[in-house]
């Protein structure tokens, strides 16, 4: 019962979503739109579940004084402050004015964006150090990797003078032709893999989402 009903639900909804694609009728589109809306709405409940889990984990860390528990306080402080601002301190709880609250926007612009952008920019250093170790023209394959990476990286460099436009054109050609060819081969592989996985899920062969018990 605990496993059969979910498996049956997956089978029914999976097959239904495949068939609705082949039914060019208004009601088919209507049900498709409805199901998409339902997924978004259930997703919000899943988000709430995630937030609860974050609070629980952080609270346990603080309660049992686990290593680095002080940082869990920061996480909870950031979480509750942002929720408070998101709901405009409760002043406008019943309208979406929380999203335009000064502090809510300030937290987004001056905390969320700087940290996120800097974290991603940090990767530039690690990727460059990895490249220094990996990019040695020791074989034909390594040379192809090195040359194409260099051409793409140097394409907008203003110091190449008359070679600059040719470099830019070569980089564009590399990105639009051989890059497209290999990516297309990879995408075809991914597409087939996704179809096989979706079939396995619908037919109940793949059941990892149900957990162990």
């Amino acid at each position: 019962m605990k496993r059969q009903i979910p498996l049956l639900l997956v089978l029914v909804f999976g097959i239904f979503m495949i068939f609705q694609y082949f039914v060019p009728h208004e009601s088919s589109e209507w049900i498709y739109e409805f199901f998409l809306d339902w997924i978004y709405i259930i997703g919000i409940f899943a988000l709430a579940l995630g937030i609860w889990s974050l609070i629980r984990v952080s609270y346990d860390k603080i309660k049992y004084k686990k290593p680095n528990w002080q940082y869990a306080v920061i996480t909870l402080a950031g979480l509750f402050a942002m929720i408070l601002f998101g709901f405009d301190y409760g002043r406008h709880f019943f309208s979406a004015e929380g999203l335009s609250n000064y502090m809510f926007r300030a937290f987004f612009d001056y905390i969320l964006i700087p940290i996120q952008a800097t974290m991603f920019s940090l990767l530039a250093f690690f990727i460059a150090s990895a490249a220094y170790r990996a990019f040695r023209a020791r074989s034909l394959l390594a040379t192809l990797l090195l040359v194409s990476a260099l051409v793409v990286m140097l394409r907008f460099n203003p110091y190449f003078g008359p070679i600059g436009p040719y470099l830019e054109q070569t980089a564009s050609w590399l990105l639009n032709v051989p890059n497209l060819a290999a990516k297309r081969a990879i995408i075809i592989g991914i597409g087939l893999g996704m179809v096989a996985t979706a079939l396995k899920v619908i037919l109940g062969i793949e059941r990892a989402y149900l957990g162990k018990d």
């Binding site: 605990k2 009903i5 979910p6 639900l9 909804f13 999976g14 495949i18 809306d37 339902w38 997924i39 978004y40 709405i41 259930i42 997703g43 919000i44 409940f45 899943a46 988000l47 937030i51 974050l54 940082y71 869990a72 920061i74 950031g78 979480l79 509750f80 942002m82 019943f94 979406a96 929380g98 999203l99 937290f107 001056y110 905390i111 700087p114 940290i115 991603f120 940090l122 530039a124 990727i127 394959l141 194409s148 990476a149 260099l150 793409v152 564009s172 990105l175 032709v177 051989p178 060819a181 297309r184 081969a185 075809i188 597409g191 996704m194 179809v195 899920v201 619908i202 989402y209 149900l210």
Partner: protein, 277 residues
């Protein structure tokens, strides 16, 4: 906490306070809220430097910024999800009273001609969402697999058709491009020969590379047959094309990250320190 750490924290606090005061003073004639704006810019600079400090090694400042990010971003997405999906889409369809309560315009049944009116239809995901929350209960946790099954089943069905169409059929059909473009004989081809980006030769070369590249790339990923003879040759060409792609993707990613870094440095040296114009 070690003595060095206390001194370092005190130093950072002093620098922060000085920067806040200096920034607020410099914004005095531009904004009414110059004190809070000065604080926020200093905070953003502090967080940027905290994350960059990871280049030296993992440290308390990096951990502080990292943990703050987790909490703030979780709450941001929750607030956004609540206001846009629950209040923006769900409540207006559920009831007139609730819509008035949340000050959102009520939406009448859009699909009233069909089997279920909107009100009933939109109660179903609410029930499924509540069932999902049952995961928190030890006894009734198993029931949360029902809404999960709905999401998994619907997404699997959707993905099967979508990926088959966009990642397989569309890609295969786009690969079969004309290998002889605007062909009017060998003589004409050589007399009009040029290396212009949209010229006959470059277009034809591109089409050949795409066709052979996709075919050889697929051969490289086909592991059910030993890569020997013609098959091995095609596989070798496939790995060449793949290497060019990996190099180009690498270069593209590096440039993206560098542009983000430039953005952060511009913020530090222009918006915060005002050293560059």
């Amino acid at each position: 906490m070690s003595r060095t750490m206390i001194i370092l924290l005190a130093l950072v606090a002093i620098v922060f306070a000085v920067s806040w005061a200096a920034k607020s003073a410099s914004l005095d004639d531009q904004y009414d809220d110059y004190i809070s704006r000065g604080f926020l810019i200093t905070l953003a600079a502090f967080l940027t430097l905290s994350i960059l400090s990871f280049l030296y090694k993992d440290n308390p400042f990096y951990k502080f910024a990292e943990h703050l990010f987790v909490g703030v971003s979780a709450a941001y997405w929750m607030s956004l999800g609540f206001w846009s999906t629950i209040v923006g889409n769900l409540i207006p369809r559920l009831s007139v009273t609730l819509s008035a309560f949340f000050k959102v315009p009520h939406i009448e049944d859009e699909y009233a001609l069909y089997i279920l009116p909107d009100k009933v239809s939109y109660f179903i995901p609410v029930v499924l969402g509540i069932l999902l929350l049952m995961r928190l209960s030890k006894k009734a946790g198993w029931i949360s697999s029902w809404p999960l099954a709905f999401i998994v089943g619907t997404t699997a069905g959707l993905n099967l058709v979508r990926y088959l169409r966009s990642d397989f059929i569309e890609q295969v059909s786009s690969t079969f491009v004309p290998l002889l473009v605007d062909w009017q004989g060998t003589g004409r081809f050589f007399s009009d020969f040029n290396l212009y980006a949209y010229g006959q030769f470059v277009t034809m070369l591109g089409n050949w590379v795409i066709f052979i590249g996709v075919l050889c790339g697929l051969v490289y990923f086909f592991f059910s047959k030993e890569h020997k003879g013609i098959f091995g040759g095609a596989s070798r060409v496939g790995i060449w094309v793949l290497m060019i792609t990996f190099g180009a993707s690498f270069g593209y990613t590096v440039m993206g990250r560098i542009s983000l870094l430039v953005g952060r440095l511009t913020f530090l040296f222009h918006d915060w320190l005002e050293l560059i114009g």
